[in-house]
Symmetry: C2
Subunit: 342 residues, 2 copies
């Protein structure tokens, strides 16, 4: 086990890497804890939840809605959870997002801790404090920003992670490489999903490196005025198509990253060769880069994107691999470009 402390504006968050689930009981008083997890994790790792107060939600992004939150809050009331209660979220990004959100609201705020069980949650969703739920098809339309007390990485959860979810996680890892880390990009080119799956050491190093990238971007820009927007690479189009076409998050942002790479050529001197490298890497990690879509309907969703600011969309483009840039594109121009692309 390795402990790393990340210093955010209002809080120091401890990360326990390569840790055992049972460590939680040494970190927080058991009597005060309530666990929140989903049906999959609860079934696959039932032994971990013995003798604990557990609230189980249905698995999947489509349940990341206020109705699920309402249900959890009712159960917290039934369990007589009070202001001293610590909510421990165990699951993928859906569970960890809902955990942070509920902990922000319940009795105007209780403590929470996160145990990410997917690669996507480990390298992305859990870091930075952003949380939220979808409103209908609109992703993360309500939410708050709240740092957990700690993050705990127990890699035994990865043993039961479906390949589909490994692929989802690598989409965010490729995103980090594209916007911030050309060396990581090359390392990914020289390796494969299958090699990472069989090497715990390789995965631990990869995860810690990606946590570090996300932390640096987030902490450099707590008010989300600049740098942090880079994390939205592939996400403007990605979010719009994800719920509309019921795509896995990784697939949706992969298609978004491919489109943003193409737009980077016409608007930002990104080279055709580098675009090929991006598409090849996505392909190597079993990610799609194209989709038949109804661009008119998608456009209506993009117009309601949180990243919109008046008449411009703060779009993320690449200067080169490992170097992303925030690029305001007038809505009319962006609409025309997407119309041509799809």
């Amino acid at each position: 086990m390795q402990k790393v402390e990340y210093i955010f504006q209002d809080k120091i968050v401890s990360c326990f890497f390569d840790a055992d689930f049972s460590v939680i009981e040494k970190l927080v008083p058991k009597v005060a804890t309530v666990y929140l997890t989903d049906e999959n994790i609860h079934q696959l790792h039932s032994e971990k939840f013995n003798d604990k107060k557990v609230i189980v939600v249905p698995a999947g992004e489509k349940f990341k809605q206020q109705s699920t939150v309402d249900n959890v809050i009712d159960q917290l009331i039934q369990l007589e959870a009070d202001r001293e209660t610590i909510l421990i979220g165990v699951g993928g990004g859906v569970v960890t997002d809902m955990t942070g959100y509920i902990a922000s609201l319940y009795m105007r705020g209780i403590k929470c801790c996160l145990v990410p069980t997917t690669i996507l949650a480990m390298v992305d969703a859990c870091i930075g404090g952003k949380n939220g739920v979808d409103v209908g098809i609109y992703k993360n339309m309500v939410g708050t920003v709240k740092q957990p007390e700690f993050l705990l990485y127990d890699y035994s959860f990865l043993k039961t992670l479906p390949t589909e979810e490994w692929i989802n996680g690598f989409a965010e890892i490729i995103k980090h490489a594209c916007i911030k880390d050309a060396d990581l990009f090359a390392e990914l080119e020289n390796s494969s999903l299958e090699e990472f799956k069989i090497s715990a050491l390789k995965m631990d190093r990869l995860i810690q490196r990606n946590v570090q990238i996300k932390y640096q971007v987030v902490s450099a820009d707590p008010l989300e005025q600049g740098e942090r927007r880079l994390l939205n690479f592939g996400h403007t189009l990605g979010h719009a198509i994800e719920n509309m076409y019921a795509l896995p998050h990784g697939h949706a942002i992969s298609i978004g990253m491919a489109a943003a790479s193409t737009i980077s050529i016409s608007l930002n001197n990104f080279s055709l060769e580098e675009r090929e490298r991006v598409l090849n890497l996505l392909n190597k990690y079993h990610l799609p880069f194209d989709l038949e879509l109804d661009i008119q309907k998608v456009w209506q969703i993009i117009l309601r994107d949180k990243k919109r600011s008046g008449k411009d969309m703060k779009f993320i483009l690449l200067n080169k691999i490992g170097d992303g840039v925030v690029f305001p594109i007038p809505l009319i121009q962006l609409g025309n470009i997407l119309n041509e692309l799809f």
Copy 2:
């Protein structure tokens, strides 16, 4: 119009007393504003909302629920509200609480401004940043803390305020006098609701004095570890019976204050004579101090009170008039005392 600035931990909130509603358009860009109000205010003051984007919710505490919030969020999406949108809540505590709550969540936080239209909202609900909605019969079970950009006091709204609501507001004013201001208590004894109703000057002075009391208590204790708890005088029992018996908030806390005054005699040397003064003042302002209630059911709700902390309830008692005190009472003892009282 008089402008007073209140300095909170993370924000300076401007209060515009005796201001005209139209001043809002000088303070914030009209194009960015969306107004939130209830059916009563919208109907009684329709001329104020001409040419504005308005979301209207049903009036009353029973609609202070997540389902109403969900509905408002859907309408914000339809109105294409974005991160630059400023939500302006115009109404009593139900509307201003929901305004702050929704502004905390929508797109992870947008700006809000509050225009309280009831005395209760003017002297209490609007100050301090606390917001929330009820969960079933549990009051303010979810919520956040968020300061508005400004508060605007337009007393023309009081002209249409029903007498019942004047009485509700004076319950909080009497609470402030009981816990913090013996002079105010005496002034209230020497005046009457009817005298305040006919004197705009008297009301303006009374409201500013009460805003000041609430501000001082709140700002002295931002983390709500001590002093601020005094504001819960009458509220532990009050909140439990309010939704259960569909009581007006003022009536509920009036009964709670009467009970807390009685408990103050047995546990805290409060005098019988001062208790008589409290009951007489409540009576003078048309507030009840007794109720036939099912104490077993009420007790079950009190057990889920946010103010519970492990085995103790942080109950508020009086040392003397104008001097409240936080008094932890073991739950078992409190249960027995309430059993005897009711």
